[in-house]
Amino acid sequence: MTLDILYFAWLRERIGLPKERVETDASSVADLVDQLRAREERYAAAFADLSALRVAVDQELMDFDASLSGAREVAFFPPMTGG
């Protein structure tokens, strides 16, 4: 499947792009993270500590064990700091 992956805040800066389109067979967010980590050191570094990150699948906050079945957009970011 083809997924749009978005990165925000320091994660975007660490990976060096705000968005990319990937072809993947990952069944869960955790699988996708493993595939991204295996790509390059900057991904491995960015995803080193998942407790410091949040994920949204199709713009809904999810856990890292969430399924990617039918998903189109996955976003990774640090904990929000609005207000």
């Binding site: 713009q59 970011f77 640090p78 904990p79 929000m80 609005g82 207000g83």
Partner: protein, 145 residues
């Protein structure tokens, strides 16, 4: 329900007047305005957001507030982009029959906006930029609801 995500500045007083104008069904309007605070050397604040999800997440939080309290109306405005110290960054307003509901709902909205709406703040000083880290106390604040 009025949800706004914008880069443009806003005048909290004028918005609040409009929000309260013409209402005969409410006895209480509560509002909160967040201001960019300079704790020393802040040049500006950079607010990043997730277009699309931000509006959805705020609408979800506002709908939850309407489910929990008897509210006549809710306003949430949050800015993004580059903001200078002293500028208003966000605003919440609630209108209800009685003040307890208006205060509690506004407090609830603020707690949830802080850690469930996709905004990230970067403080830019003469020394460079630092992303503001989320506080454990912000997450703990959700438990009381």
């Amino acid at each position: 329900m009025d949800i706004r995500v914008q880069s443009a500045p806003f005048a909290a007083g004028a918005l609040l007047d409009d929000f309260a104008a013409g209402r005969r069904d409410v006895g209480a309007v509560v509002s909160f305005t967040g201001i960019v605070r300079d704790d020393g050397g802040l040049r500006h604040m950079e607010i990043e957001h997730y277009p699309g999800m931000t509006e959805r997440a705020i609408a979800g939080i506002a709908e939850e507030a309407v489910r929990r309290w008897e509210l006549a109306d809710v306003l949430v405005l949050h800015r993004h982009g580059q903001l200078r110290p002293g500028e208003p960054i966000m605003m919440v307003a609630t209108a209800a029959g009685h003040r307890a509901a208006a205060f509690e709902a506004a407090d609830f909205l603020m707690d949830y906006l802080k850690s469930r709406a996709p905004f990230w703040k970067k403080e830019v000083t003469v020394d460079g930029g630092d992303w503001v880290a989320a506080k454990a106390s912000d997450e703990d604040a959700l438990d009381r609801w």
